[in-house]
């Protein structure tokens, strides 16, 4: 097991390195020139050059990369002379647009995204899996048919529609949310009610889409597992249907969900762009969207991309380890 872990961790590090290099290369190859884009009104070639130097783009891409990596570990100083700014480790860069260390921007945005992702995750797991189990147990009877409708709606309705519908016709209409406060961040430890208010409708929007898929997946897994030989053995042993469902059927049927859920969650951690947009949440999604569409803020773009990649890759590892814990057949590696 230890050998397996070591192998996986080193593979993870290699993947992260490759991803970060690729991101740098991609942005180096892109025709847009951040130096020009961010130079503002008084834009002469000298100003552009100075800008380029300021942004650290006047050195070859591998040097840029090297500096960036170094910054991750020891922090970095941006600008020169009086305009010098120090960002402490891990330094993901400096946003000249917003005059802040990117790391600080990330630190602000991440809790928002985390709250959104975590809440939605728990909600969709509870709803999706429970509904799937019910649908499987009452296969072809009315609970199954009702859940089928739910699945259909959830998977067909894109979040930008469901989100807006929920916002307009539920949240605002019934006065659950004050439009001025839409998306306002409340610290969950100091103002839990405010926090809940901000996130409840985005949670419902996101969970609706994901829960539908999980219902369908759980249903088919439970049905398939129920016809396995080892379930027949459990019945022949004299175990009650309740125990069989809980200990035998579900354990086997839900194991694959661990993998999928982990990766879905990791994907959301990088920023739920649409939901954050609709509900005005200042999370990583909004951050990266603004950096790409409005500011062309390269350091922020690089940082959010990398962060999203880190979450996915690390979660991949976590999920694999979890799965090996659940399914002993996988441990042989």
């Amino acid at each position: 097991m230890l050998k397996y872990l070591l192998r996986r961790v080193s593979a993870t590090i290699v993947v992260l390195t490759l991803i970060s290099m690729s991101v740098f290369l991609i942005f180096d190859v892109l025709p847009m020139d951040p130096a020009r884009l961010t130079c503002g009104k008084a834009c002469t070639p000298t100003v552009v050059e100075a800008n380029r130097h300021r942004l650290g783009l006047d050195v070859p891409v591998q040097v840029q990369y090297g500096r960036w990596v170094k910054g991750l570990f020891v922090g970095r100083t941006y600008g020169e002379g009086q305009a010098e700014i120090k960002c402490s480790a891990p330094a993901f860069g400096y946003s000249f647009n917003r005059h802040e260390c990117v790391t600080d921007l990330l630190k602000e945005a991440f809790p928002v995204t985390l709250s959104l992702a975590l809440g939605a995750f728990i909600l969709w797991l509870l709803v999706g899996v429970s509904l799937g189990i019910v649908a499987a147990r009452f296969k072809n009877r009315w609970p199954d048919r009702v859940s089928n409708v739910f699945v259909l709606v959830g998977t067909s309705l894109p979040t930008f529609i469901s989100g807006i519908l929920i916002l307009l016709f539920v949240a605002l209409k019934f006065g659950f949310v004050n439009p001025i406060d839409l998306g306002k961040w409340h610290n969950p430890f100091t103002d839990p009610i405010g926090w809940f208010n901000t996130f409840i409708f985005p949670w419902i929007t996101l969970a609706l889409a994901y829960a539908a898929t999980y219902t369908r997946f759980t249903r088919s897994n439970v049905i398939e597992t129920s016809s396995e030989d080892y379930i027949r053995t459990a019945r022949a042993k004299g175990l009650s249907e309740k125990v069989i469902l809980r200990k035998h059927t579900l354990r086997a049927a839900l194991a694959p969900i661990v993998t999928i859920a982990g990766l879905d969650f990791a994907g959301l951690l990088g920023g739920a762009i649409i939901s954050e947009g609709i509900f005005n949440l200042p999370g990583l999604g909004r951050l990266s969207l603004r950096a790409v569409l409005i500011d062309y803020d390269l350091p922020v773009i690089v940082a959010t991309t990398m962060l999203a990649a880190i979450f996915v890759v690390v979660m991949n590892l976590v999920v694999d380890i979890l799965y090996a814990y659940i399914d002993p057949r996988v441990r042989v590696a």
């Binding site: 396995e228 080892y230 027949r232 053995t233 022949a236 042993k237 004299g238 354990r251 002993p328």
Partner: protein, 339 residues
């Protein structure tokens, strides 16, 4: 004195989209402790369906079951067919156990052998996990698994097919059942392993003084282990009797046909096999009269076209030897080749 298991007029059918599948009809037999009854038949004969009914493993909502299957327990007789489901459930794994054909898929892949055995024991005995594992280890030793105390913590995928079947047997016997039903227990195993498992079953039967029902299609296996035999075809028992009678004086064209059509390792004369023509009938539209008629080479010997119109009853042709056939004893002797 009644036998441990007495089955009377057991009939099982399933309503399906294509029609009513008459899986088994009017089955009656009994098995006592220390006895081995073999149920022989091919696919669609109803041999498994009957046993599943005895174990109460059919979904009552989706199956029509009538008749009775009485277990004569020390605490009194219980009819599995009419008793409430909860009561029947508490007999499974305790008074009666069943092992199935494919040992590779019969164990839960995520739980250790010890966990699964222990679960079976703790269902009917007071004891903690440690006690359960101890009992599990004892059973593994009993069924001949080497290094039991180490292997009890291992997982099913770490065991070979033969070993897994031994584990299944251990699990079935862990609560000292009085009836063991083995449904094709060795069909998926190599022949040398089959030998081991059959011997194990015989030894265990003696050890626990159990009634054993062995379901199989292999007439060689039946000859080795059975005291009595039920030959089934198209959902009915067509012949029933002691093993010697069935093999040396078969009283049904199907049994005769089967015995003539199987090659034997000890018969090297190269004589051509006499195959039974045709195919088994569909259980949805059973023909009128005798279900075997379309494949029977002796049907035309019966006067008045009886085989086509009247379904024969299971009659006693010899002592404790029954057959469902219109042919007379004389005609059957001739059909056998005059023995």
């Amino acid at each position: 004195m009644s036998a441990f298991l007495e089955v009377k007029n057991l009939t099982v059918s399933f309503p399906t989209e294509d029609g009513l599948v008459q899986a088994s009809n009017d089955i009656s037999f009994s098995v006592d402790r220390g006895e081995t009854l073999a149920v022989v038949g091919e696919s669609g004969s109803g041999k498994s369906v009957t046993s599943l009914a005895v174990m109460g493993l059919h979904n009552r909502k989706a199956t029509n079951i009538s008749g009775s299957a009485v277990l004569n327990l020390e605490t009194g007789p219980v009819d599995v067919i009419s008793a409430p489901e909860e009561q029947v459930r508490r007999l499974r794994g305790k008074a009666m156990s069943m092992i199935f054909q494919d040992p590779m898929s019969a164990l839960h892949p995520y739980y250790s052998i010890g966990d699964q055995l222990s679960e079976a024991w703790r269902l009917y005995n007071d004891g903690d996990k440690k006690a359960g594992f101890k009992r599990a280890t004892e059973m593994l030793e009993l069924v001949g698994i080497p290094d039991a105390s180490k292997r009890v913590k291992e997982f099913p995928h770490q065991f070979s097919g033969g070993m897994r079947q031994r584990v299944m047997i251990a699990m079935a016997l862990i609560n000292n059942p009085s009836l063991l039903i083995a449904d094709e227990p060795t069909t998926a195993l190599d022949v040398t392993v089959q030998s081991q498992i059959l011997k194990l079953l015989k030894d265990m039967q003696k050890e626990f003084n159990m009634a054993v029902i062995l379901i199989t299609h292999d007439l060689g296996v039946v000859a080795e282990v059975a005291d009595r035999v039920n030959v089934m075809y198209a959902g009915k028992i067509v012949e029933q009797g002691g093993a010697d009678n069935i093999y040396y004086r078969p009283d049904h064209p199907y049994t005769i046909g089967l015995l003539n059509s199987i090659p034997r390792v000890d018969q090297l004369d190269g004589k051509r096999l006499i195959a039974i023509p045709g195919q088994p009938p569909s259980l949805i539209n059973l023909p009128q009269g005798c279900s075997f008629r379309s494949r029977c080479t002796f049907a035309d010997q019966v006067a008045g076209n009886l085989c086509a119109t009247v379904s024969p009853t299971l009659d006693e042709k010899d002592s404790a030897h029954f057959s469902r056939c219109h042919l007379t004893e004389k005609q059957l002797v001739a059909a056998r080749g005059g023995k």
